[in-house]
């Protein structure tokens, strides 16, 4: 279980005044304060951790966001930003004394500039919404987290989200030009803009991936790219996960960078096929989705070279998608993979460690051993080309023992990632989930330096507290909390 800072008693006592204050800023439908209606906001994509907030505020403009922030700052109220609530690390987990500031009403595309290849959108526009707005003119927005249908660009910026096609196009940070942000005390700032790099400090770099610790983003300027001439996906099936991992390593180390190189093991293949009917190889222990793009001749040439490499690892089958519909189904299955695991397990914890691709076979083997030792199944689906693992630990949330085992296994897997030279998170963020593992990755002086940056933006630590940075608690208090069935409060 997770520990949070203790709620501030004076804030809880002034609940009604705080709600009244929010209602002076926002229209009636923009403030939620009734216990029953707050419940659905108690969690996000990491449903194992839950805590209803003090209130929910749903602003529609940057000015309203700024007014809410100024008000909360003046009242000393903590604020938890929220987009679509799809975070897999508990990034939007509320606190009892916090106002959840939801940006989903800010869902307008503000400007599209094809000549300069950029789009300005509000933070609550979905990731796919940007591509949908420009695809008829032959453009797209490249980073494509698997939840791109639902997740919002503001959250993408704060988590520096990646996705299947980031192997070629980079993550959010590489496709971002500017932000309009609101500071903790309600000032509106413009950072970056329609140009590459800015004078002075690289604020954009600092804020991207800051998990709502520093500022809130309300408007985002992104790079849009010309759609490729064409693309084709190939499915390569193998009779073992390790050998599939070896094949990934061979492709990457040959110098070929496909647009996407994805891995799925048997449980995922079966769960996703049931959802997407994509023609996945049901007899395989592991499958790679390899996508290339360019002219037909370029695609053929690349696919030929990739097939040659795959053949060295005795694939069960190699199948190139024959149509746009087939490719769409292949990606529908892959992008629905986390949810599809709901078909084979009532609950899962989704890990997000990143490792050097050369260590893939070894890490997959060791995850398999750890899974067998603790008796919980692990389904693997991940961005293999980037070495960004997503082991899905399957457990039963109605059984507390099972949940505790899952948390422990998750921590062990992430420690393994760090041990082989990788890191705790590739794209989902630290959130609450990986917070207490941060000192596996960083030394205390390194963490303190990060904390000082947080304090510079947010001196009173009102923004998205109890996340990212390990709470400074005695070890026995942390251990007690781990065995608790409910979120525990500590200061």
């Amino acid at each position: 279980m997770i520990v949070q800072h203790a709620p501030k008693a004076d804030i809880l006592a002034r609940r009604e005044q705080i709600l009244a204050g929010l209602r002076r800023i926002l229209p009636e439908t923009g403030v939620i304060g009734e216990a029953l209606r707050l419940k659905p906001y108690e969690t996000d994509g990491l449903a194992a951790y839950r805590q209803p907030p003090l209130a929910v505020a749903l602003p529609e403009t940057t000015e309203q966001v700024a007014a809410v922030m100024a008000f909360c700052h003046a009242e000393g109220v903590r604020v938890v930003p929220r987009g679509a609530g799809t975070s897999l690390s508990g990034g939007a987990l509320p606190m009892e004394d916090a106002v959840v500031l939801g940006l989903m009403r800010m869902n307008r595309i503000l400007e599209i500039d094809y000549a300069d290849r950029l789009a300005v959108v509000q933070a609550g526009v979905t990731n796919i919404g940007i591509t949908n707005a420009v695809h008829e003119r032959g453009f797209f927005y490249a980073p494509d987290p698997s939840s791109q249908l639902a997740c919002m660009i503001g959250g993408n910026v704060m988590m520096n989200s990646g996705g299947a096609h980031c192997l070629r196009y980079g993550v959010t940070a590489n496709n971002l030009l500017g932000l309009k942000v609101v500071t903790v005390d309600g000032q509106i700032l413009e950072i970056g803009g329609a140009h590459c790099d800015a004078a002075g400090l690289d604020w954009l770099g600092l804020i991207t991936g800051s998990e709502g610790q520093l500022v809130l983003a309300t408007e985002v300027t992104v790079r849009i790219l010309r759609s490729p001439e064409g693309q084709r996906a190939m499915l390569a099936a193998f009779d073992g996960t390790e050998v599939a991992g070896q094949c990934v390593d061979a492709i990457i180390s040959s110098g070929i960078i496909p647009v996407a190189l994805e891995f799925m093991d048997r449980p995922c293949i079966h769960a996703c096929e049931a959802f997407a009917h994509a023609g996945y190889p049901m007899d395989a222990e592991a499958m790679l989705i390899i996508e290339v793009e360019g002219s037909v001749a370029e695609q053929d040439e690349l696919l030929g070279r990739i097939k040659d490499i795959c053949r060295r690892f005795k694939p069960l089958s190699l199948k190139v998608s024959g149509s746009a519909e087939e490719s769409a189904a292949i990606w529908k299955g892959r992008k629905g993979a986390f949810g599809a695991v709901g078909r084979i397990s009532p609950d899962y914890l989704c890990m997000d460690g990143t490792i050097p691709t050369s260590r893939l076979p070894e890490v997959l083997r060791r995850i398999g051993e750890m899974s067998a030792a603790c008796g919980l199944g692990v389904a693997n689906v991940f961005h293999a080309g980037d070495g960004n693992l997503h082991p899905l630990i399957m457990f039963d949330a109605n059984d507390p023992v099972s949940f505790h085992k899952a948390e422990t296994l998750g921590a062990d897997i992430l420690k393994l990632c760090v041990e082989v030279g990788g890191c705790l998170t590739g794209e989902h963020g630290v959130g609450v989930e990986k917070r207490d593992l941060m000192n596996v990755q960083f030394t205390e002086p390194e963490l303190d330096q990060q904390r000082r940056i947080k304090s510079a933006f947010d001196p009173a630590w009102l923004l998205n507290p109890s996340k990212v940075f390990p709470l400074k608690l005695p070890p026995e208090a942390l251990e007690a909390a781990r065995h608790s069935a409910v979120p525990m409060a500590a200061e």
Binding site: P40, G45, A47, L58, G85, T86, S147, A340, P346
Partner: protein, 433 residues
């Protein structure tokens, strides 16, 4: 997702079923993206995931439904877009049906809401009463402008008057219980759900269906005793009237299936099709469980049956662009997405699909009367997307959508266009334009 039901609660088969559905949900949030009300209102509580949470809380607590739960569940269109999107296969339809029954049993609505719902369930499922009601609406329409602009009751009344057609068509003879003989060699025998509201609003749909099927060598039975499918009351959470309607249909069609035999039960109103295909589930704890499952297995949308028969046109199509409007009950409820478009193309039309075709038009049974504001916004959004493909005609497979979308561009049922190209008359809706 974790649930909190005790052993006692789980002995209730409805709770047990909903518990299974809730445990399937992993709270990933994909469903929010394709939910029409979340798109418009931007509140978790008006998304499938938020409603699932509210319903879970209501069922777990065993408390009567509260005004808050009712407000957010009432705003759900039951378009089932979330079920198409859900990777985990969560059966939201059965969960929200359970919630609606619980609400009907434990929550007392304001008097005007009760009165409105009573009027709808008395008038709509019976063609005679519906016709009378529409004639009444024609008389009352000039008074619509006198209704106050505020207040839910007044807005609903205005929506109802605006939705009522300017002219009520004459009743058709084809819907009476009878057998329509196949022309030429008999290739099959089907029962047609003659329906309730549709035959009053647009009798030409059943006429075209029967004409086309008999021409293709299929004997069509309008079974004695069959009537409204029960969807209307079912979606209001009224368990007993819904079951009574369904039971009457099951018995009527069983007599035919066990008598001269049935290859299919053909349904040309997709909202009803979704419900008939769910009879098996609705009756799972009843003595007629097996019979109901058999009826559900026989049920086919007209587009499925025509595809199976190998529909082919007999005349060259005029150069018309048909915008295919996917009814939610067809695309999400029954997962029929390819057949209607393929049939229209087979008939020779240029078929255009509008943007956001997965989003509901706001009709959703009685939703456009009970939730006029949201329904109106969805209609405007849908009409704008349809207009963007510059259609000559809009084709849909559900009378609710047809009524909701009626406006500048003619709206016809898919089967009317198919019948026309197979020798039937030009659809009346097209001739008017």
């Amino acid at each position: 997702m974790q649930t909190h039901f005790d052993a006692d609660q789980l002995r209730d088969p409805d709770i047990a079923s909903s518990n299974q559905i809730l445990r399937n949900c992993v709270h990933c949030g994909m469903c929010t993206a394709t939910c029409p009300t979340f798109l418009l209102l931007g509140d978790e509580l008006d998304s499938p995931r938020g409603r699932i949470y509210l319903i879970k809380d209501m069922l777990e607590s065993g408390r009567p439904a509260t005004e808050d739960v009712v407000r957010h569940v009432d705003r759900c269109l039951s378009c089932l877009s979330c079920m198409t999107t859900c990777p985990a296969g969560v059966n939201y339809m059965h969960l929200v049906d359970h919630a609606r029954t619980t609400i009907a049993e434990t929550y007392r609505r304001p008097w005007h809401d009760r009165l409105m719902r009573l009027a709808l369930r008395v008038a709509l499922p019976k063609p005679g009463r519906m016709r009378l009601a529409l004639l009444g609406a024609q008389i009352a329409r000039p008074l619509a402008s006198l209704l106050p602009r505020r207040g839910m009751a007044a807005r609903r009344l205005r929506a109802m008057l605006e939705l009522a057609p300017r002219q009520v068509p004459k009743a058709s003879a084809v819907e009476r219980p009878m057998v329509h003989k196949a022309i030429g060699t008999r290739r099959g025998r089907v029962a047609l759900l003659a329906g309730c509201a549709q035959q009053v609003l647009a009798p030409q749909i059943n006429e075209a269906t029967i004409r086309l099927l008999t021409l293709m060598g299929v004997e069509v039975v309008v079974a004695k005793g069959a009537g409204c499918c029960g969807a209307l009351t079912h979606h209001m959470g009224l368990h007993d009237p819904a079951m009574a309607s369904a039971r009457a249909n099951i018995q009527a069609w069983l007599r035919e299936a066990d008598g001269e035999g049935l290859d299919a039960i053909v349904i040309n109103t997709s909202g009803c099709g979704t419900t008939v295909k769910d009879y098996g589930f609705m009756f799972r704890n009843e003595p007629e469980a097996a019979d109901a499952a058999r009826i559900s297995a026989l049920a086919l949308d007209i587009s499925e049956y025509l595809t199976r028969l190998g529909y082919a046109p007999t005349r060259a199509a005029p150069a018309l662009t048909v915008a295919y409007h996917a009814a939610c009950s067809l695309q999400h409820g029954q997962k029929i997405t390819i057949e209607p478009k393929a049939l229209l193309q087979r008939a020779g039309f240029a078929v255009a699909v509008p943007a956001e075709s997965h989003i509901c038009c706001g009709s959703a049974g009685t939703y456009n009367i009970l939730q006029p504001e949201i329904a109106g916004r969805l209609r405007d959004r849908k009409l704008a997307n349809l207009a963007a493909v510059r259609p000559d005609v809009i084709a849909a497979g559900n009378i609710g959508c047809m009524t909701q979308l009626s406006g500048a561009t003619p709206v016809v049922h898919t089967v009317e266009l198919l019948d026309w190209m197979a020798g039937g008359p030009e659809p009346a809706g097209l001739r008017v334009s």
